[in-house]
């Protein structure tokens, strides 16, 4: 099997899985559909591994393969092949995507089993994986955009999976539209590049960019900025991030897979993929890095204030992706992608655990209601702790090494990059606090009613299932969300998936240890980033400093969080009262939704209503149509009014006409 075949199969299997599940429809019993989906993804993972092996067989300087099926477009100098581009980066991404996806599928088999939309769920999920792989493996910018939009669509479908919830559908449309904004940015950015270069395929694009543009050429910068808009939208960077918290309307596995592990990292991938272009436009790269830094800080602060369990994790995701975006924009590729991978593991794990916890709460997501689940859900608690430690970069956890590598690479560039470096550490503080705030609040303290019930071996069921966001009673006629709830303690598929991820969250750091202990990941990605023109001077002192600082931050603030949320009560409130305006800012998520509403949504809606209620009526129907018909009608009335039926007036008009004509002719003669 050649590399290309393996890559195509990676792409084909999820698609096939999706189609088989979808077209089979009601013939599949829910379980079968779930397993078909899981197996398809698992097989895709297998082929991704095969692709990895095949790729490693190639000589290092030629570790890239392309293959195309047919031309989608080949006219007027525009050529879009239906082709793939396999290199270490794409294989790396494919591995992460398929691997995490396989586990999440497995989890879902258990978690979603009482939901009547089960087959639909797996069809969507498989379709999502296909889309993500298409994005990753695409051989040119156009096909990348296709994959890009497909994941957006899959994300939309899954966010509004429980589509009887108005909150879910509006969250879906919000996510989709913001993603389309990103798509458009991507398309326009592509145009800027295409205008000068005339190609869309990666190979010629990367090779030709330095010939086609001057460094930091305005047109290239504009193009790359627009492409970054695409990346920001997909990766939930400010100000295009507002859809991500709302996306938590989707079932928890969806949040886990799409809105934590894979899709939202597409922006990181995009920047990594197009690094030869971005490095040639340093202004754009700087913007990317700054936006990433801003996002990681803003999201971190919001994470301190929100009380919805899934949203806390969502803001954490935003924040972590902010790190990655900052890193890859600053040419810290290995660190960035290393963090992408470890983040995929521990964030997926955290979401899975959160899903389990939410099941135990019978769908309730508010941290305010959760208390003392430590005893009732030991496995879930364990997973939460592992994930939390990794997220807060606790020494020796995977997140510790990846975040460290990431910040180190940024710091190595020196200059103003130290500002980013510092921002990263401030973010670290925030990360630790919001992570442990969440864990302490949910698991420490007196068990709440649900936890107590569970300790007696019985999962709580609400009398009427309600929408956790609005509290309105669910429309259960349709059979979803499912009646029964599944927690990890009772469902082996969930346990298996969470266990695997927990292990990975702990050990994944070995791929790239500091001081050159292991450099597997760096070596593997080396061929992709070999053409990078950014220098990373080694700086052992900085490296050591970073390790210490990271460790200290993690340990100290873990303890601080413990003091605030686990031990005493009321301390959190005291802090809130001390900085009321800051608290309000964070609770209201820095007012981004309101801002976007004010600046974009409301004006557009106003234009729409103005068009419908006023312009259409007054100008189109009134002036254009009414005016014309009015003139004609008035003419008609005049003609008919003249037509009195009086013979003498007719004769009068004849005489008037006669004298008029004679007058004209006389004047003419004169």
């Amino acid at each position: 099997m050649s590399l290309q075949t393996a890559a195509w199969l990676v792409l084909a299997l999820p698609l096939a899985g999706s189609l088989v599940i979808a077209l089979g429809g009601r013939w599949w019993t829910p379980r079968v559909a779930g397993w078909i989906g899981t197996v398809a993804i698992a097989l895709a993972f297998v082929f991704a591994v095969i692709a990895l092996i095949k790729l490693q067989d190639l000589p290092e300087e030629a570790r890239v393969a392309t293959s195309s099926l047919w031309d989608l477009v080949n006219v007027a100098g525009v050529r879009i092949r239906l082709g793939i581009y396999v290199d270490p980066l794409s294989v790396f991404m494919a591995l992460v995507v398929t691997g995490v996806s396989a586990l999440i599928h497995l989890y879902s088999v258990g978690y979603m089993s009482s939901d009547r939309g089960y087959t639909r769920f797996f069809a969507y999920l498989n379709f999502f994986v296909f889309s993500m792989l298409l994005l990753v493996l695409a051989g040119n910018l156009a096909l990348l955009i296709v994959g890009w939009a497909f994941v957006g669509a899959a994300s939309y479908m899954l966010i509004s999976y429980w589509y009887r919830r108005t909150t879910a559908t509006s969250a879906g449309i919000k996510a989709f539209v913001i993603n389309v904004v990103g798509d458009v940015g991507l398309v326009l950015g592509t145009f800027f590049i295409f205008r000068e270069m005339g190609v869309l395929d990666y190979g010629p694009l990367f090779e030709g960019v330095q010939g086609a543009f001057d460094k930091n050429d305005a047109s290239l910068v504009a193009g790359m900025l627009l492409i970054l808009v695409g990346a920001f939208a997909k990766s939930a960077q400010v100000p295009l991030h507002t859809w991500l918290p709302d996306a938590m309307e989707g079932p928890t596995p969806v949040s886990s897979l799409i809105h934590a592990a894979t899709m939202v990292t597409a922006g990181v991938y995009l920047i990594g993929r197009l690094h030869p272009l971005l490095e040639w436009a340093p202004t754009a790269a700087a913007v990317g890095a700054i936006v990433g830094a801003a996002t990681l800080l803003i999201a971190g602060t919001i994470g301190l204030a929100v009380t919805d369990l899934k949203r806390v994790i969502a803001y954490s995701t935003m924040s972590q992706i902010g790190y990655m975006i900052m890193a890859v924009s600053a040419a810290a590729y290995v660190g960035g992608f290393f963090h992408l991978m470890t983040h995929a593991f521990f964030k997926a794990l955290l979401f899975m655990a959160a899903g389990s916890l939410i099941s135990a709460m019978a769908g309730e997501q508010s941290l305010d209601r959760m208390r003392g689940f430590r005893k009732a859900m030991p496995f879930t608690f364990g997973c939460f702790v592992v994930g939390g430690l990794a997220l807060s970069a606790f020494p020796l956890m995977s997140g510790f090494f990846s975040k460290d590598a990431l910040l180190l690479e940024i710091g190595q560039r020196g200059g103003w990059y130290y500002a980013l470096y510092a921002a990263g550490y401030i973010g670290s503080v925030l990360t630790v606090i919001y992570t442990w705030r969440m864990i302490y609040r949910a698991f420490w303290g007196e068990p709440c009613a649900e936890a107590a019930e569970l300790e007696h071996g019985h999962i709580h069921h609400a009398e009427h299932p309600t929408n956790p966001q609005t509290g309105e009673i669910e429309d259960t006629e349709v059979g979803f969300p499912g009646e029964a709830h599944h927690i990890a303690e009772q469902t082996w598929q969930m346990r298996l998936a969470m266990g695997a991820l927990a292990v990975l969250s702990v050990i994944a750091g070995v791929l790239f240890l500091p001081f050159g202990i292991t450099e597997w990941l760096a070596n593997f990605l080396e061929p992709t980033f070999a053409d990078s023109i950014v220098e990373h001077p080694a700086n052992d002192g900085l490296e050591a400093f970073g390790l210490v600082l990271t460790s200290v931050v993690a340990v100290v603030f873990l303890a601080v969080a413990y003091r605030i949320w686990a031990v005493g009560s009321g301390r959190a409130t005291a802090w809130q009262e001390r900085f009321p305006s800051l608290h309000r800012l964070f609770v209201n998520k820095w007012y981004f939704d309101e801002l976007i509403g004010l600046v974009i949504v409301r004006p557009v809606a106003w234009v729409g209503h103005w068009a419908r209620d006023s312009f259409e009526r007054i100008v189109i129907n009134g002036a254009l149509i009414g005016g014309t018909t009015g003139i004609v009608r008035a003419g008609s009335a005049a003609v008919r009014a003249l037509q009195t039926g009086l013979l003498r007036s007719y004769a009068g008009l004849v005489v008037i006409g006669l004298s008029a004509i004679l007058l004209y002719l006389l004047l003419r003669a004169a």
Binding site: V632, R640, Q643, A651, V654, I656, I661, L662, L665, A669
Partner: protein
């Protein structure tokens, strides 16, 4: 025996009987028809007379075809036998046959007596021939009166209907004003040039350099008014709606088609031959009249509920369109005029045939409501009416479209493209009244109340006993197969010539030959 009498003996005018044969057929036919009207049996009167009328028209058509390739000056240059004459004769005679068929069972014909009715029709047609062929002012004037006087009578021929009489009197008075104006114009032209023959007038205008003279221009102005009046062009159109509405429908049909054709023939002859040297002076006037006619005709037709009235306004607009073909003063234009008039014949005859049909079948008279349910009840008649309306509006696949096409082409060719735009603006407005007619036919299934015996279908009031013999019969009245035949044949012609117009083009192609050659 004075020397003069002797001289008179010597100079006998040369008369080309063959060339005159179409005219003679009509005039002779009228006498025969008049006599046949004296037959005793009612059935004979009711059927022999119209049959003879058709035969006369057919004979005239035969003569026209016989003389088709001839070209001659008849009776000392009074008339001209040329393609224009023959084409006009052909169109008039076809219109005559159609009118006779529509009128076959008409009350008006019964009212004034069949013999008189059809004889007058034939005489009027003869007048049109004379008018179309006339080569001097005197012949023209006589032809015009021969055309008009029978029509005055025919309009009033439904003697017991007030509206018929009213229309007759209105037509007579306003028509006479027009005639008097025309006469005065002729007098001035004669005075300025000292000639009555067209060719001579033209020659004198050139020779004496009179084309810009006030006397000539005043004469031209009055002539324009008189002729515009006959062709029912705005602003001299006001008699048209009233007369068309009041006159018996077959007469309206005939007037709307034949009069217009004759009027345009004489306009072409007089202006393109006799007054051609003054073309720059009179053309703006005609252009203005064309524009005003198109606008007023179309605007006036909007919202009319009487179909006859609607068609009257429409005919004003159509006359405006035709005038565009004339004002460019090219052979192409004349050809377009003739083609359009032929096409107009089909459409108007079909429309009036259907209107007549419904007048006889329903109590709604010529109201738009009479068309309700026609599509379901009589799809063929409805189809004919639809085609007629679409043709008048100038929708493709109807002959009217080709006609408009040719007119606009002539306008563009003559440098008057903007008049082409005026034509289409008129057409757009016209859709707003043609389409509702179609809509009424096809949309509403409900039919208007059938005619009740003893009710005057025109007014909806109780009719005079014995005034309408059909009405005395209790059976459901029918429109008569002849009328429907006219509708179908004309509808078919609209469609046929809309798709294969070439034969019609070949027919009118020579119409312009020799007209403009006299410059």
């Amino acid at each position: 025996m004075t020397p003069l009498l002797a001289a008179a003996k010597v100079q006998a005018p040369d008369i080309d009987w063959a060339g005159l044969s179409p005219l003679l057929a009509l005039l002779g036919g009228s006498i025969i028809v008049l006599m046949a009207g004296l037959l005793r049996p009612r059935a004979a009167r009711a059927h022999v007379v119209p049959f003879l009328s058709v035969a006369s028209f057919a004979a005239a058509i035969g003569c026209v075809l016989w003389q088709w390739d001839e070209r001659a000056s008849l009776i000392e240059g009074a008339l001209m036998l040329d393609p224009l004459t023959l084409i006009v004769a052909l169109i008039v005679c076809v219109a005559g046959i159609a009118t006779t068929l529509i009128a076959w069972r008409d009350e008006a014909a019964q009212e004034i007596a069949h013999g008189e009715f059809f004889a007058l029709l034939l005489m009027s047609s003869a007048g049109m021939l004379v008018l179309a062929a006339a080569q001097n002012l005197v012949s023209t004037f006589v032809g015009l009166e021969l055309l008009s006087l029978p029509l005055y009578i025919l309009c009033a021929s439904h003697l017991r209907r007030a509206s018929s009489l009213e229309s007759g009197l209105k037509y007579l008075i306003i028509g006479s004003v027009g005639s008097a104006t025309l006469l005065y114009g002729f007098a001035l032209l004669y005075g300025a040039t000292g000639a009555t023959d067209y060719a001579e007038i033209s020659a004198q205008l050139v020779k004496k350099g009179l084309s810009g003279d006030v006397l000539v221009l005043t004469g031209i102005g009055m002539t324009i008014v008189g002729l515009a009046f006959k062709a029912s062009l705005a602003p001299f159109h006001q008699w048209t709606p009233d007369v068309y509405e009041g006159a018996p429908t077959p007469v309206t049909a005939f007037m709307s088609v034949a009069t217009k054709i004759a009027a345009f023939a004489v306009i072409i002859r007089l202006f393109d031959v006799a007054l051609l040297p003054a073309v720059d002076d009179w053309r703006p006037v005609w252009v203005a009249i064309a524009v005003i006619s198109i606008l007023i005709g179309n605007v006036g037709a909007l919202g009319q509920s009487s179909l006859k009235r609607l068609l009257a306004y429409s005919s004003i607009a159509q006359a405006g369109y035709v005038l565009v073909g004339f004002v460019v003063v090219t052979e192409l234009g004349i050809e377009a005029v003739l083609f359009y008039l032929a096409v107009y014949l089909f459409a108007n005859m079909a429309a009036f045939a259907v209107v007549t049909l419904r007048e006889r079948e329903t109590a709604a008279g010529d109201d738009l409501g009479a068309m309700r349910g026609l599509g379901a009840e009589r799809p063929l008649a409805a189809l004919a009416m639809t085609l007629a309306m679409l043709s008048l509006a100038g929708i493709p696949a109807t002959a009217g479209f080709i006609g408009k096409f040719r007119l606009i082409e002539a306008a563009a060719d003559g440098g008057y493209t903007w008049l082409g735009i005026v034509i289409v603006i008129g057409s757009m407005i016209s859709l707003a009244y043609y389409l509702p007619v179609i809509a009424t036919m096809w949309r509403d299934e409900a039919q208007p109340a059938p005619i009740e015996p003893g009710v005057d279908p025109g007014t909806g009031r109780a009719a005079l006993a014995g005034a309408a013999p059909e009405a005395d019969v209790a059976a459901r009245p029918t429109g008569g197969w002849e009328t429907q035949l006219v509708a179908l044949v004309m509808g078919g012609a609209i469609l046929f010539f809309g798709i294969f117009p070439q034969p019609l083009f070949d027919l009118v192609r020579r119409g312009a030959l020799g007209i403009l050659g006299l410059i």
